[in-house]
Amino acid sequence: MRVTLHNLSKTFNGRRAPVKALAPISLEIASGEFVSFIGPSGCGKSTLLRLIADQLLPTTGAIWLDGQSPTVRRAEKAIGWMAQNPALLPWATVRDNIRLPLQVNRRHNRPAPLPDTLLTLTGLAEFADAYPGTLSGGMQQRVALARTLATGARLWLMDEPFAALDELTRETLTDEVLRLWKEVGATVLWVTHNITEAVRLSRRLVVLSARPGAIRALIPVPLPYPRDATSADVVALERAVREVLHA
């Protein structure tokens, strides 16, 4: 799904004065692209993602998702949303959690991998009947990932989905996301504050400035997958990103 941001900005009504979270941003993201948004805390990268997810309304500017507004795309269940909190239903089994997107807003069910296929695809087959409370944080995020895939959405908005996990689990899961992204061919907008992760994953990096977030630099990552975090190319790019962030 093609993502077009045109002069997009967001200002919140603060308690004393308005808070500018996002300066006007214009950006074009191609269908099937994997783009990471990186920047200091509070730079508005989550706000940006929530605007695209139709959780917030922009103060100025517009968002087009394949030529339609986020409101229309959300109504069509065409946006996959995933955040740091796995947000699973604790009273439902893993399988039922993954089936949730098929249970609600059924009118807009679209072709998507079946829940049982997703269980296998995300390595959850043996936990199908387990309850989320019995799973580790990493496994819970796997379930959330499978649930996002179950929507069949071609746009994945991922707001630091693995930030709360340990380094090792995080690496395994990001590799999994990469694999699934290639299989599905979805457009991924990935918010993170982890530079290595951003370089390893994305085709393009969007570096944002401190609040109000504005685009500091667009850095293409023309490296083949899989990318070794310790390879010279990746390290050089990381350094470049750091320089932009600290400039």
């Binding site: 997810a53 959780q55 959300r74 109504a75 069509e76 269940k77 946006i79 996959g80 949303w81 955040a83 909190n85 796995p86 947000a87 699973l88 239903l89 604790p90 009273w91 949730l100 997107p101 249970q103 609600v104 807003n105 807009h108 309850y131 989320p132 409370g133 019995t134 649930r147 929507t151």
Partner: protein
């Protein structure tokens, strides 16, 4: 068994069996103490009868008390059911129709603050000596905790889960069914634990104000005749039913909210 293990219930006994043993032991101790004090100090029967005498009275008039208990229990459960239904229905109503929430809650507090002892005779005048006034009083007493708890539970649905449902453009009904209603269950059970034993109090208070049957009537008759063993026998029946109701609710809670236990267990580790 090695000495560095944590203290545990005796081997071979399930935790439930151990609970029963400890409850029986503590209750037995309390009753034993009561018996000893009454006997040693020679307390007259019209002030405080000994537990042994109460049990004798119960055994001698088992059928009377059984029948009275059945009447009271039926009225209490009917009232509880009505209070539960009303509490849940109003909680759902004000969750979705936020404009009237404050007004409805003010009215509910008004009902809550009215002493039921004062209303009970009025209801008896209106509806007679039958079960209806008892059911109404019990419903009025039980609905408030249910309303407040379920309302809190419906509003306490996890924001992150609501965000996921929003991203799927779930309808209000779907948000209710998949997030708000299950979120309210732990709160509902918290209310039930208070309200189930309370329903017996409601029924008895109403019976006290005039009834043709029930434990409240038995108590009133015994009180009028200063028949303390009979009065205490009725109280004993009420206590047993209260404990039983509480036990049933606790058991139902464990069965229904098992998913919550697993979560807690993991956090303990």
């Amino acid at each position: 068994m090695s000495t560095d293990e944590l203290p545990q219930a005796p081997a071979g006994k399930s935790p439930v069996a151990w609970d029963l043993v400890s409850v029986a032991a503590i209750l037995g101790l309390a009753l034993g103490l009561w018996e000893i004090v009454v006997r040693l100090r020679d307390i007259p029967v019209y002030l405080l009868p000994a537990p042994s005498l109460i049990l004798q009275t119960l055994a001698a008039r088992a059928e009377d008390f059984g029948l009275a208990a059945a009447v009271t229990l039926t009225q209490a459960l009917l009232g509880l059911l009505a209070g539960l239904a009303a509490g849940i229905a109003i909680a759902i109503l004000i969750t979705y129709w936020t404009g009237i929430a404050r007004g409805v809650l003010a009215l509910a507090i008004l009902v809550k603050a009215t002493p039921m002892v004062a209303i009970a005779p009025l209801l008896t005048i209106w509806f007679g000596f039958g079960p209806l006034p008892k059911v109404i009083i019990t419903a009025l007493i039980t609905f408030f905790p249910v309303l407040i708890n379920v309302y809190t539970g419906l509003l306490a649905a996890d924001e992150a889960i609501l965000a996921v449902l929003h991203s799927l453009n779930a309808s209000r009904w779907e948000v209710f069914r998949y997030a708000r209603w299950p979120s309210a269950w732990p709160y509902l059970f918290a209310a039930l634990k208070v309200v189930a034993p309370l329903s017996l109090v409601g029924a008895v208070v109403a019976e006290w104000a005039g009834a043709s049957a029930g434990l409240g009537r038995s108590m009133w008759l015994a009180y009028s005749n200063l028949n303390m063993p009979a009065l205490f026998a009725a109280i004993f029946c009420l206590a047993v039913m209260g404990i039983a109701l509480y036990g049933v609710v606790t058991l139902a809670e464990q069965r229904t909210l098992f998913w919550r236990d697993t979560r807690e267990r993991k956090e303990d580790l």
